[in-house]
């Protein structure tokens, strides 16, 4: 059968491959190459070795963005996952209204980042107005604003994944534990959490990559203000490309660093949690 399918290679794969090559592979390879050059329009690239990278790492904005993004990612991974897990526990006890609740909590995840950013700008500025400050008065307001926004957006999404995990645990495990006299907390700790390790892996991974790559919400909520202090990596790279003439090469070098960082963390986390799953 393989042989007869093989004759249809062009029909089945050509359109996708062409688009994939032209719009992903080529730009990706070009991007790596250009990070070692100085250019303004791609055609005028001159080789400069590693100087873009040293400029990037010496750049105050980039250092700030790295630190801010790292802090934000850690904090939002914790808030989103703890809240989502607790809500999932509450919603898997078969009470009336569970479905309605699940539907409502999932909704923010469908709204786009730009719209989310402006919704929360209104709400948070409204609250801060009473203390006579605004979101862009101090970087800490922007930071916690982004954490609140991110939690609001992702809790429902992660909760749904945790619910699916909890519902797939065999019921008799809980019954045996109850008969043995285990209390609620012991059941959660020794049955629920170990049994949903795959769901935990997925949720941590999703919150992390979403937080690291955040752009739209950042742009709409604070646009990096005050003084670029709440600029995250993706936005800093964008600003370097389009807001700093002559720094296109540095922007591309920052983008490569960003890519390596995302890829490395993704691989470390996936392999670490896979190992724990096997041990269980």
């Amino acid at each position: 059968m393989e042989k007869s399918i093989k004759r249809y290679f062009i029909l089945f794969t050509f359109p996708t491959l062409l688009a994939f090559t032209a719009l992903f592979i080529v730009p990706f390879v070009m991007g790596i190459y250009l990070s070692f050059t100085e250019f303004t329009t791609v055609n005028d690239a001159t080789w400069v070795g590693l100087s873009n990278y040293s400029k990037a790492f010496a750049n105050q904005d980039f250092q700030n963005a790295l630190w801010f993004t790292g802090k934000f990612t850690v904090v939002s991974m914790i808030t989103v996952n703890i809240l989502a897990f607790l809500l999932a526990l509450l919603l898997t006890r078969g009470k009336r209204g569970t479905n309605l609740f699940r539907t409502a909590l999932f909704m923010p995840n469908l709204i786009g980042g730009i719209v989310l950013g402006y919704i929360w700008q209104l709400i948070l500025n409204g609250i801060l107005y009473r203390y006579e400050v605004t979101l862009t008065y101090d970087a800490k307001y922007g930071f916690w604003g982004l954490v609140v926004l991110m939690s609001w957006q992702l809790i429902g999404y992660m909760m749904v994944i945790y619910i699916a995990g909890i519902q797939s645990i065999p019921k008799d495990l809980f019954e045996v534990a109850k008969i043995e006299g285990a209390d609620r907390w012991a059941i959660v700790r020794h049955i629920t959490i170990p049994m949903i390790m795959p769901a935990i892996t997925i949720c941590l991974f999703l919150t992390m990559t979403n937080s690291l790559k955040l752009f739209d919400q950042n742009l709409a909520l604070t646009a990096g203000a005050p003084a670029k202090e709440t600029t995250m990596l993706a936005l800093d790279i964008y600003n370097t490309f389009y807001g700093t003439p002559g720094w296109e090469g540095v922007g591309q070098a920052k983008a490569v660093v960003f890519f390596v960082l995302v890829a490395l963390i993704a691989m470390i986390q996936l392999s670490a949690t896979r190992r724990r799953e096997v041990e269980q």
Binding site: F106, G113, F258, F259
Partner: protein
């Protein structure tokens, strides 16, 4: 027994209260869209009263400023056709590279999976240039860009599903004298329907809400909804809050309608996508 129902009812009331609190940011935006533009930032939590209520004024000025209905049409056009193309073409590709086991197939599969972890900023500048050179910087061309940049996840999801289909079904059809093209559309594609729905929903959510890619590629000439909203912000901090509120409401309405109609598919699709991705 009696006590159980009382407790159940109070939990239900608690749920309703939590839902109201959780969704209050959206309700507050709706409420403010009916208030005069100077009464919004200072007191967003106050209900409109006889001095602050302006009826549909914000909607009128917002529609004028953003050309919202054009943006809606543009978002709809790009999303519908990009998703249709992705759902159809990546299914074929995924089936082919899963069924034909060669080194080339393996390499392709690996490249698709690899593309999933690459952040957009990595290829942002160069991809915009390529799109410009290939004349893809228009609403039709952007469909091909979405195919190229979005096929990784879709091929990956389809491939996982194809592996779980017993190959005997396809072999039986082939022995009866079918050719692969007919077989794919009559036999394989219908079996792929559940995962096709997942692929479609994940791509709709991405493309409908995407801001940066369409902004960079077609943003100077054409506006999608996110571009139109961001455009309202204008220069340094000068926002017409009234128009902004009204346009936020109009941007949320289609999403809510879509969600109400396909709620079950969306939640299941997103979970399936997440678990396999």
């Amino acid at each position: 027994m009696q006590r159980e129902t009382v407790r159940d009812n109070s939990i239900f009331v608690l749920f309703l209260a939590l839902i109201a609190v959780f969704l209050s940011p959206i309700l507050i935006v709706v409420m403010n869209s009916f208030k005069g533009k100077f009464y919004i930032s200072d007191a967003p939590f106050k209900l409109p009263d006889s001095t602050t209520y302006v009826g549909l004024e914000n909607y009128v000025s917002g529609l004028e400023k953003t050309n919202f209905f054009n943006a809606f049409g543009m978002s709809l056009f790009i999303t519908v056709f990009s998703v249709a193309v992705i759902v159809w073409l990546t299914a074929m590709t995924a089936w082919y590279i899963t069924r034909v086991k060669s080194r080339f197939s393996k390499m392709l599969y690996f490249s698709f999976v690899f593309s999933m972890i690459v952040p957009f900023q990595m290829v942002m500048f160069t991809m915009t240039k390529v799109a410009n050179v290939l004349n893809l910087d228009n609403p039709l061309g952007i469909i091909i860009i979405y195919l190229g940049f979005g096929c990784g996840l879709s091929v990956f999801l389809y491939s996982g599903f194809v592996k779980s289909i017993p190959i005997e079904i396809e072999e039986a059809v082939m022995i009866d004298g079918g050719n692969p093209r007919e077989m794919f559309f009559k036999v394989v594609f219908p079996i792929l329907k559940p995962i096709a729905i997942t692929v479609a929903i994940l791509n709709v959510m991405w493309i409908w809400n995407d801001y940066l890619l369409p902004y960079l590629v077609i943003g100077t000439e054409y506006k999608t909804i996110p571009i139109a909203i961001q455009y309202l912000k204008g220069g340094y901090g000068s926002i017409d809050m009234g128009a902004m509120m009204a346009m936020l409401v109009l941007a949320i309405v289609p999403v809510v309608v879509f969600y109400l109609f396909c709620q079950r598919y969306i939640i299941e699709g997103v979970v399936a996508g997440a678990v396999k991705g």
